[in-house]
Structure formats: C-alpha cells, structure tokens
C-alpha cells in the first residue's frame, strides 16, 4: 500500500536527521561539511523522489527539478575559482 512507502521514507529521514546531529560532534575536520552536505543531499533526494513523487508522468519533471541545483554548481564553482586563487585578502 502506498502509505507504507511514505512512512518508511519518513522514518529514514528521521534517522538521517539523527545521524547528522551525531556526526556534527565527530572530530573529522574538513570532512565535516562534506558529511553534512552528503546527508542533506540524501534527504533532499528522498523528499523529491518520494514525497514530491518525481517518478511518474510527465518525466520532464526531473529536468526542472534538477535544473536549479545543477545551475548552482556554476555560481559556486566559478566564483570559487576567484576566491580560491586570491592572495593577500585582508581579514575582517
């Protein structure tokens, strides 16, 4: 039955929430943002695929759903090309 699918997804989401809080206190240095981002992306994927019912007609939904996230890669990535290669930036 459909409702079961949503309940399972909800339970998984709560587990991931707990995981994110637990891992926040682990001393993993530069991997911390990576872990948090990875958990957030997983949760977002569950929301889009299960709760927003992405699979199904029309399949064009996938393109629009992904477009915003995909486009952010350009904003972040190309801007970081500047921030990562600057030198002598005065600290506030």
């Amino acid at each position: 039955m459909s409702a079961a699918r949503y309940l399972v997804a909800w339970a998984v989401m709560l587990l991931l929430l707990g995981l994110s809080i637990w891992s926040a206190f682990l001393r993993i240095g530069p991997w911390q943002p990576v872990a948090q981002f990875g958990i957030a992306v997983t949760q977002a994927a569950i929301v889009f695929i299960v709760f927003m019912r992405l699979p199904g007609r029309p399949s064009l939904k996938w393109v629009f759903a992904g477009a915003g996230f995909f486009w952010l890669i350009f904003l972040y990535g190309i801007s970081m090309a500047d921030y990562l290669t600057r030198s002598g930036l005065p600290k506030g």
Partner: protein, 545 residues
C-alpha cells in the same frame, strides 16, 4: 475604441470593449497590448533621461545638470531601460502575442499568471515612479557596494524593491513560456519544426528563470544591509564588495542575453520572409541559441577584470567570453548566407533586420575587444564599453523590436502602416544610431571615463557628434508613433497574410479571433518553406501562401 475597430470583423479586439474586459483579460493577445502600453511609457521615461544626458554632455564643463543630478539621470536611464523596457520588450509584447499563435495553441499554459505578471510589472513601475519623483538614486544601475549600501544618499532601497518586484514579473513570464512551449504545441509541431522565434523565446525564458532569483537575493541583501546597517558587503565590517559583484553579474550578464536572444529570434523570422528563403542552417541556429543561453552564464567576471578578482579567474572568464562569441558569430554568418541568392525585398521590417545584423556585428566584435583582459585594463569603465553595449542593446535589440513591431503590426491590429514613412524611419534609425554611438568608441579609446559629468575640452567634438546623432535617433524613434498610430484609424485593412509568410500565426485572420484558430492546426511543414526562385511559400500547416 470603437473607431479603431469599426470596420474590422469580429476578433480579439472587438470581442468585448469595456475597460474591465481589458484590465481583467486572460487573453494573451490583449495582455501583450497591455504590456506594450507599459513598456512604451517606460521607453519614453528612459529616453527622457538619455536626452538630458546628451544635452548636458555637449558642454565640457557640464553645466546643464548638477553633478549629483547627472548621476541620478544615468542611473534612472539604466534602471528604466534595462528592466522596464529592454528585458520585457520583445518577450512580453511580441512573445505574449505570438507564442500561442506560432505553436498552434489557444493560449498560454497559465493565462491568469500572465495577467498577474503585468500587474506585478506595473507595481514595480510604481516603485520606480516613487523613487524618481522623490529625487532618484545615484549609484548607477549596477548598485555597487558599499556605495549603494552605505554612502549613497538617494532612494536605493526603493529602487532595489522596484527591481526585485520586476524580477517576479520576469519569472512568471519565463515560467509560462517554458511550460507552454513544452506542452501545448499543436499536433505535428515537433521541436525541430518550431520557428526560431519560439526557440529564442524558450532560451530567453530559461535564462530568465535561472538568473533572476540570484539578482533577487542580491538586491534583498543590499536592502537589508542598507536598512539595518549590517556588514554583508561592507569591508569595514568584514564583508566583501566583490561578493556583491559576483552575485550581481551572475544575473546581469545573462540579462544581456535575455535582451538579445529574442531579438535574434525576430531577425530570423524577418530575414527568411523578406529573402523568401529558408534560414540557412536551421539546426545550427537552434543549437547556437541554446549555447548562447548556457555559456552566457559562465562569463560574468568580465565585468570585474579591474575590480580585484584573481588573475587566474580573469583568464577563465576571458576565455569563456571568447567562446560565447562563437555561436553569435555562427548566427550572423547564417543570416548572411540566407541572404545570398535570396529574393530580397527591402520592406521596413527587412531594413530593421539588416540594420540589426550590421550593428550587432560591430557590437559583438567590440565585445571581443573588451573581453581581452589586457585591453580591458585600458577600456574598462570608459565610453568604449558604453558604445559596445549600446550597439548590442539599442542597435541590436531595439532595431529588432521595431522590425518585429512593423512585421506583425498587420496581424496584431488588422491594419497596414505607411511603408514609405516606415522605411524612412528605419534608415533614419540606422544613421542616427551610428552617429550617436560610433564617436563613443573613439571617446573611450581616448580615455574618457563613463559616468563623468564633465570632461577635457579637446574631446568636445565627439560629444557634439554623439548628441547630434541622438537628436536624429529621437526623431526616428518617435516617428513610428505617428504613422503606426495613424494606421489604427485610417490604415488599409490587412489580410490574413500580407507578407505571404509561412508561420502559423499568418494562417488565421488579422486580427485573430479570441480563441486564435477556427480549427486547431495540424503542422506538416518545416518552418521557412520559402522558395527564392519564384517567391512562393508553404505555410507550416501545408497551405500554399
């Protein structure tokens, strides 16, 4: 209103003529006319600012306007022209009118959102009028921080709010077009049979949707910083002014493609029709449109070469700026090749289209010049840049807009305009434009900075030439008001297809009925099935025209 429609058969114009039926319409064709009224008003407001600027600059000492007022003038000119004229011009007037007709649909996907977008646009316009009458803004249309957030003494927040709200109108429009083009094409209208105008509107809409939200957030942060006095972009409090510029230009460079892509779409329609020849390299033209839209997002740093970004990122942005020129060049070559061995007639729309090709080429080539980092060190913030972007936006977009307006005027109004006066206006535009803006390349090369209210007297001759050209351009832009307006009352009745063109929009009456087509069209023919040998053509539904 009844005089205008007196001898016209039943159409979207005659259906109902109360004010409420116009202000509450959901008919995309009426909404197009509502937008036409709004943007024409803003065109004259922005043009008024330009007039004052050019009058002021005739004199090297700059005495017509006070310095602070001069700053407010070029800011008003920029804000009004960019967001309240150029960006909505072709998409919201010609696009709104033609997209459903060209694809064989009854209306857009979301007609009420379409109407709402016009009200949102005018709400933004009210904020513009507010800050104009309250005394203006002096930061330039680019709102650079920390000038805009801490030191400017004008109505920055009101201007930011105006642009923020205007952005919603853009997003609503783009959303409507994208979904409509995907889902509401008539049977047989597959993607590779779509007119290039539709492809151009699609590419434009994608850019509107992906870029505008970032501008919205940027202006929101500027508003918060100015109002609350916190240091998001202020170096004194830890902020980075370049972060503002990155975010601002991430939108504002694609914005210039929002302004030029629809114009390119119009030009393809005009050249095919008046050369009686299919556009050369149709598939390449569609890829070029999409390539410009996408690559246009990777070049924004070329506005920041001298602002303090790292030299490595400058190289990346410069390279990408060269790459984005390639699809534009491909389009220019293809238009030119289309003309070769065509059966060319020089009707007014064609004159505007040919003017576009020449002026866009100059604008594009000078774009490559400023995209070269070494040259930009000298040319950044000079009149060279001013001339470059006016060649594209005015020589390009405005020429195409006027060309499209003339071309589809019979369809929209059911009337023919005076061809003689129209050709004269088109030629006057080309001459006036070049006289106005070519001297500005020279001024920039000589080193005259932009946004300066006074300059050394040895440069006066160039400014005088430019201002003289501006007066000619003004006549050329005002003239159509008269003969187009006159045609509404006394113009000859237009038939369904006075240009014998191939688009679906020409297969219904002029003006069209409210529901667009008597019967839903079935598309069987590629676009632009013109035969230059004898000038015959086949419309997209298979009929001989």
């Amino acid at each position: 209103m009844t005089t205008l429609t007196a001898d016209l058969p039943a159409s979207y114009l005659t259906k109902e003529q109360t004010i409420a039926s116009w202000l509450l319409t959901t008919d995309h064709k009426r909404i197009a006319l509502l937008y036409f009224a709004s943007i024409t008003a803003f065109f004259f407001i922005g043009g008024f600012a330009a007039t004052l600027i050019r009058l002021h600059l005739v004199n090297p000492a700059g005495t017509l306007l006070q310095p602070d007022m001069y700053n407010r003038m070029f800011t008003m000119h920029g804000i009004v022209m960019v967001w309240f004229f150029l960006i909505p011009s072709i998409p919201n007037t010609l696009g709104n009118f033609l997209v459903p007709l060209m694809i064989g649909a009854k209306d857009l996907a979301f007609p009420r959102i379409n109407l709402a977008s016009w009200y949102v646009f005018n709400l933004a316009g009210l904020f513009v009028l507010y800050f104009l009458f309250m005394g203006g803004v002096d930061t330039g249309w680019t709102f650079y921080t920390p000038l805009s957030t801490h030191y400017a003494n004008g109505y920055v927040v009101a201007a930011a709010v105006a642009v923020f709200i205007n952005g919603f109108s853009s997003i609503m429009t783009g959303l409507n077009f994208v979904v409509t083009i995907h889902r509401m094409r008539a049977p047989g209208m597959v993607w590779m049979r779509l007119p290039l105008f539709i492809w151009a509107i699609y590419a434009t809409s994608a850019v509107m949707l992906l870029a505008t939200p970032v501008l919205a957030m940027t202006l929101f942060l500027v508003g918060v910083e100015r109002t609350a006095g916190v240091g998001i972009f202020d170096p004194a409090l830890g902020g980075d002014p370049l972060l503002f510029q990155h975010m601002f230009w991430f939108y504002s460079h694609p914005a210039v493609y929002i302004m030029i892509l629809p114009a390119m779409g119009v030009v393809s329609e005009l050249i095919a029709c008046f050369a009686r020849k299919p556009i050369f390299g149709y598939a390449g033209m569609t890829y070029a449109l999409m390539a410009i839209a996408v690559i246009g997002f990777f070049v924004w740093g070329h506005h920041m070469f001298t602002a303090g970004i790292s030299i490595y990122s400058a190289v990346v942005f410069s390279l990408m700026s060269f790459v984005v020129a390639v699809p534009s060049a491909i389009k220019t070559f293809n238009w030119t090749v289309t003309l070769h061995k065509g059966r060319i007639t020089f009707d007014a729309p064609m004159l505007y289209a040919l003017g576009f090709v020449g002026l866009f080429t100059i604008g594009g080539v000078t774009g490559l010049i400023v995209a070269t980092v070494a040259l930009d060190i000298h040319l950044q913030d000079t009149y060279f840049v001013v001339a470059h972007f006016h060649y594209i936006m005015v020589g390009g977009t405005v020429s195409a807009y006027f060309g499209g307006l003339h071309y589809w005027w019979p369809k929209i109004t059911g009337r023919l305009y005076s061809e003689m006066l129209a050709r004269f206006a088109a030629l006057l535009t080309f001459l006036g434009f070049n006289l106005t803006f070519f001297p500005q390349f020279i001024l920039g090369y000589l080193g005259m900075p932009r946004r300066y209210y006074a300059y050394p007297p040895e440069w006066q001759v160039w400014h005088v030439l430019s201002s003289a050209g501006a007066s000619i351009l003004a006549v050329a832009y005002v003239l159509p008001l008269f003969y187009l307006g006159w045609s509404l009352f006394r113009g000859e009745r237009a038939g369904a297809n006075p240009w014998r063109a191939t688009g679906l929009e020409w297969r219904t009456s002029s003006p069209p009925p409210a529901h667009n087509f008597a019967r839903a069209p079935l598309v069987t023919s590629a676009p632009y099935a013109y035969n230059p040998e004898d000038g015959s053509a086949i419309a997209q539904d298979g009929a001989h025209v």
